[in-house]
């Protein structure tokens, strides 16, 4: 009798444990601390495509058998864009060969991107002597679908190339040649066969499909239907990735949710936000943008808060690496979106690598490095009292 009691007791405890076991498992990080996750209001089919893209982006490792390289930079999207956030210096890209609007002079010598690593038995590329170049660290890839569908017409109205309003801040668009596989969005504006670029730190990429295809080819050495040219041999080869996967990767990027701000009710954050406008940071880091029409309902006519104007600005000689793309000047950089800024250390190995090449190791350093059109604004920042600087910082970290 005693024995059966004991056995019953054991079985009951196990059943109870089975009911409550979630309680003993690690809890989920707060939604606003995570970058990965779909936008709201996707349809069933859209969620499926999102999940498929998510798997390729976050789980797929390209091996030699799957087509890695032979020349490459790293072997997966996630190795550079951990958790969809900003990346570590290890995932930096070096692009080279062009110093002005007249195009890349080093395409025959491995341009436009340096493949710094190679599979065993091959030699990686080295920078050709005399080639102008710049280093790029991986940006966060969140909320990009919203950025993609801000109408060209809006960008052209906010651009002020001649600085007609005399505020010292101009802002230009980058006119770029787009590859054949890119289908311009409805309402796209072109000039002499060129379109407006908006992705990448030089705004030299038209849309997320182009970015995905370029990343596969140049960063990982994976040929796709859209770009079947092997980066190493220069020959056309069979696609090394299914076309549906490429499309779903681009779809994933389009429908990845925007970063959620944190601590928005904190008094210091509110004060910091006011300072941000007061010292003109917001002239380039535009708090609010709006999408136009979009083929994905969840993206159409949405207001959102990326803290960028998607335009190029002269950032002064300090940030001029002598390298450029499209019609951008070598001292011009696209305003970095500031959303998600406070979460950067979670994906950069516990620290900050800011500005296009990660040279700033803190937000303060990043602000200090603003020159050119941003010099005025930076000067105002420098004149702020210590407490005010802290409030501004707190606000930036809340994004």
């Amino acid at each position: 009798m005693k024995k059966t009691n004991l056995a019953l007791f054991a079985i009951m405890s196990l059943i109870l444990l089975g009911q409550a076991c979630d309680k003993f498992e690690p809890s989920e990080p707060a939604e606003e601390d995570l970058l990965d996750g779909p936008m709201e209001d996707l349809t069933y089919e859209e969620n499926q495509r999102f999940l498929d893209g998510d798997r390729t982006f976050n789980d797929e490792v390209f091996t030699i058998e799957k087509g890695l390289g032979p020349l490459f930079v790293t072997n997966s999207c996630v190795s550079c864009h951990a958790g969809d956030g900003k990346g570590h210096i290890f995932g930096s890209l070096i692009r080279f060969g062009q110093s002005d609007e007249t195009g890349n002079k080093f395409l025959h010598l491995g341009g436009p991107q340096l493949q710094t690593r190679a599979i065993p038995g091959y030699q990686p590329e080295v920078l050709p002597p005399g080639a102008p170049y710049a280093v790029f660290t991986p940006p966060a890839v969140t909320g990009l679908g919203l950025l993609e569908f801000v109408p060209d017409s809006y960008l052209l109205t906010t651009a002020d190339p001649e600085d007609k309003d005399g505020d010292g801040i101009s802002g230009r668009v980058n006119w770029i040649d787009v590859p054949d596989f890119v289908q311009p969005r409805l309402g796209s504006i072109s000039q002499n066969g060129r379109y407006i670029g908006r992705f990448g730190k030089k705004a030299s990429v038209y849309d997320l499909l182009q970015q995905t295809v370029d990343a596969l080819a140049q960063d990982i050495g994976i040929a796709s239907v859209y770009n079947p040219i092997d980066v190493y041999s220069g020959l056309e080869i069979d696609p090394e990735i299914a076309t549906e996967k490429v499309n779903n990767l681009a779809f994933y990027l389009q429908t990845l949710k925007a970063p959620l701000p944190r601590n928005q009710d904190d008094d210091e954050v509110i004060a910091g936000k006011a300072l941000f406008t007061q010292i003109n940071c917001s002239s380039c880091h535009t708090p609010t943008l709006k999408t136009g029409d979009a083929p994905i309902a969840a993206l159409a006519n949405k207001e959102f808060h990326p803290y960028t104007d998607l335009l190029l600005h002269d950032m002064g000689p300090e940030l001029d690496d002598g390298y450029t793309e499209g019609t951008a000047k070598s001292n011009e950089w696209r305003t970095a979106p500031l959303w998600g800024l406070g979460l950067s250390p979670d994906s950069q190995g516990g620290r900050y690598f800011l500005m296009h090449d990660g040279r700033a190791k803190s937000i303060e350093q990043a602000i200090e490095m603003h020159g050119g059109e941003a010099a005025n604004s930076r000067d105002k920042y420098q004149k702020l009292a210590k407490e005010d600087k802290n409030k501004l910082l707190k606000f930036l970290k809340s994004l």
Binding site: D22, V61, N75, P120, G349
Partner: protein, 412 residues
């Protein structure tokens, strides 16, 4: 041609005919081969140190073990819910072929029939206790777990991470070797030295995106063809004192790169070297059993390749098992109730980023607790709780994994 399928068929036929025989004979004739007292056993004896059933007049003894479990694990708040798993079903067949010639084999079905492996199938010739020749599919004696991996021997459903993933237990290859043992009162000394088929390029080119010796196990051709024709050397020295415990030092190494093909020199010869220390002891006073191992992996990875694949790995585990009740429990004569704890650590990539000089992350830490009940020495019921932290190679904040596992494992 010898292949897994035919082997399997033969194995099953034997099993069936044996069981038929059993049905006809008086079960009194069946003899359970009792394993010798623990005293004279070392880790190297584990392959033969298993309960087997033999019937008189039949030259083959059979046995095996199985492992099944329920688990409920969650990672960063995402629970995989209730999972019921049948991890392993393993059959042993052994026979004494003639005087001082014996055969042992271990056929394993993992996760149902998803993976079928011959873990071990070797013939041993004894010339002298100090000199035995073994040939077949062998378990490379690196660390202790690889040879001593049977589920019922452990208080945890999960195998140690360092011993199964960093050192790729169960790692078996076709090969030959010598081994021997020497006793002197309480002291015992054993050695093993094998040459076998080795690793291939997949150890630095795999979907784990890290140096991963286990990747070679995916290559099903490895029982037939060595990818580069270079042998893998494994040696182990072990010393045991019945009052103190056992200590093993082992080395495994060879060339893994596929440096030639069709007579063409393609690539550099690059090596993999593994060192391991293992020990186990029982603190007599409390009957506390402690076992653990630590290993170092060194792989010559080309400088021009990606640092995601590390040159150095290191890791190990320690299990502490404390019996709390022994004797007649719930009507079983020789039962025991135990508490156990396992600490584990693996640094999959020991090194610094060339770009920043920062430490490369890619490490796993885990702690597990266990309550186990053994109605006899061959069967275990165990409830485990795991808490594990894993960092990616950039050393971002860790991913937390945790949850319960309840399982049973028994020899049969």
């Amino acid at each position: 041609m010898f292949n897994t399928k035919t082997f399997l068929l033969l194995f099953i036929c034997c099993g069936i005919s044996l069981s038929k025989l059993y049905a006809q004979i008086d079960s009194g004739l069946l003899k359970r081969t009792t394993t010798d007292s623990v005293k004279n056993k070392m880790n190297m004896d584990a392959v033969y140190d298993r309960p087997l059933l033999a019937a008189d007049k039949i030259p083959i003894a059979i046995g095996g073990y199985m492992e099944a479990n329920w688990q409920h694990l969650g990672e960063d708040g995402i629970s995989e819910g209730h999972q019921f798993q049948f991890r392993r079903f393993t059959m042993f067949m052994s026979s004494t072929i003639g005087k001082r010639i014996k055969f042992m084999s271990e056929l394993e079905f993992e996760d149902g029939t998803r993976e079928i492996n011959i873990e071990f199938a070797a013939v041993d010739f004894e010339f002298n206790p100090l000199l035995n020749l073994r040939g077949g599919i062998i378990l490379n004696p690196i660390g202790a777990f690889n040879q001593n991996h049977d589920g019922p021997k452990w208080e945890f459903t999960d195998r140690p991470i360092s011993a199964t993933q960093m050192l790729p237990a169960t790692w078996s290859t076709p090969g030959f070797g010598l081994y021997g043992k020497h006793y002197n009162k309480d002291w015992m000394f054993g050695y093993e030295a094998y040459i076998s088929s080795g690793f291939d390029g997949s150890i630095i080119d795999n979907e784990q995106s890290r140096t991963y010796l286990g990747a070679t196990k995916e290559n099903i051709d490895r029982f037939e063809e060595s990818p580069n024709g270079a042998p893998l050397y494994t040696t182990k020295l072990a010393i045991k004192n019945n009052k103190i415990g056992e200590l093993g030092i082992s080395y495994m190494g060879g060339i893994y790169s596929e440096y030639q093909d069709d007579g063409l020199d393609l690539d550099d010869k690059r090596s993999v070297n593994v060192f391991a220390l293992d020990f186990n002891t029982t603190i007599r006073r409390f009957n506390t059993f402690i076992t653990g191992e630590w290993a170092w992996v060194n792989v010559d990875v080309p400088q021009t390749y990606t640092q995601q694949y590390g040159q150095k790995q290191q890791g190990g585990f320690i299990d502490v098992v404390q019996p709390v009740l022994r004797g007649k429990l719930l009507g079983w004569e020789n039962a025991s109730l135990n508490l156990a704890c396992r600490l584990e650590y693996v640094d999959w990539n020991k090194g610094k980023f060339k770009e920043t000089g920062d430490n490369i992350g890619d490490d796993t830490k885990s702690i597990m607790g266990s309550i186990s009940f053994r109605p006899n020495t061959q069967t275990v019921l165990r409830l485990n709780y795991r808490h594990q932290r894993t960092r990616d190679y950039i050393a971002n904040p860790p991913v937390l994994l945790g949850g319960f596992n309840f399982g049973l494992s028994t020899y049969f």
